[in-house]
Amino acid sequence: MSQTFTPNEMMTVAAARALTNDDVCFVGIGAPSAACNLARHTHAPGIVLIYESGTLETRPNVLPLSIGDGELCETALTTVSVPEMFRYWLQGGRITTGFLGGAQIDRYANLNTTVVGPYEKPSVRLPGGGGAPEIATSCGQIFITMAHSKRAFVEKIDFFTSLGHGEGGDSRKKLGVTTKGPTKVITDLCVMEPDDKTKELTVVSLHPGVTKDQVIAATGWQIKFAPDAGETPPPNETELKVLRELHARTKAAHGGNA
């Protein structure tokens, strides 16, 4: 394949492919939003996209900068209040897949978006959890997209903003959580899935041109690789075209970098 692409495009495409036409998806801003809308414009035209601002079945033509851009409401089937969104739609168990990201992630896909350093005296105060604590436990499953680096993929996260697989094994079950939790972590280097038993994240495919050593160097714990880990299929022409057009429209709409 002669087409070239960026690691970020590969990450978005890999995340989009993980979504199906039958998904009801709780979408976050940034990479998740790009992935969900790429899926909707390619292989999953029937996917239902829900943003926590209250927009149900939204079909944005440009990617929103914020979770409540007018574009989301104008292209939605309906818009509900925020208490209704969290009570009836999320807590009510109507979402199949939630998308999360974070500043830090550990080997069990627990996430931190709250603080770097101690909570009371942080070295960096981050925006906080927002919808994440309940998205993590109420959606059928969770996909996580994050840029892969040693700063983000850490041995120990500074704060447990949202539950992944806890301390591994049947941690979720012990906490009374019946949903699957993180089933895929998609980075700009590789795709990881939790091990069936231990729930520790394991690399299942490396993006084209990425080596195991690169992944090891960018991960703060001794990352495991599945024995049959292969190469992530590269983005095809259509995926790249649709994604780039989406970003170009977005950039034009927001007056600056998208």
Partner: protein
Amino acid sequence: MAEFLSLAQAIEANVKDGDAVAMEGFTHLIPFAAGHEIIRQKRKRLSLIRMTPDLIYDQLIGMGCAERMTFSWGGNPGVGSLHRFRDAYQNGWPNQIEIVEHSHAAMANAYDAAAAGLPFAVFRGYRGAELPRVNPSIKEVICPYTGEKLATVPAVKLDVAIIHAQKADRKGNVLLEGIVGVQKEAVLAARRSVVTVEEIVDELNPPSPNSVVLPSWTVKAVVQVPGGAHPSYTHGYYKRDNAFYKAWDEIARERDTFTAWMDENVLRKGPEVFAAHAKKVA
């Protein structure tokens, strides 16, 4: 019944030093003009409450109006951090600010409970999350019917709610459309409320019998401030000024650029400057 006042009168009469204030808006309909008036009137020691504090709370905090912020996501959406909030929280400039942190689900439920006159909210939340360790107001109950362990948070306690809406009629009934967030709940939860609107019309003409309408007798003051949500937006009137949200990152990063901007655009101006942003989409 709602009184029609000027913005200065409405803030003077309804927002006192030390009040618990919610200026709500989930990205949409954020009452910026009202926030600027609070800054001009130099309110102090406010306890600010909002699910998604963004630029207007950054401005209030940076200008020394607040001593506490209760929130669930505090950032400049799609852009980054609130630099003035961070500076106050981490460095005590211009004063130390205390935080009370929740998840969105918790706050949405806490507003809902307050509007319903309940002392607390119950929901399935915070499982495996660390916030309950650092926020002692998050507790648990056992469901008396199923035995399920559920999270509780106290209902939001508000002296005053401030929101922006599309329009009010001459009686002071208010119509909200688009992403309506928790504004209805905030107004019903508060002892007093101030609503700024784009237009005052003879007939409200709600588009559906199920439209979000706040009856005049639930609102304390109505003020017409065209463009009053800018750089946020008003559905049906003007779009979110995403370029300004991006520009704010630079303005707020340093204390002196922030202070200069506030001086020029808030302290030396009045609510009439917002009118430049008010234009109705055909």
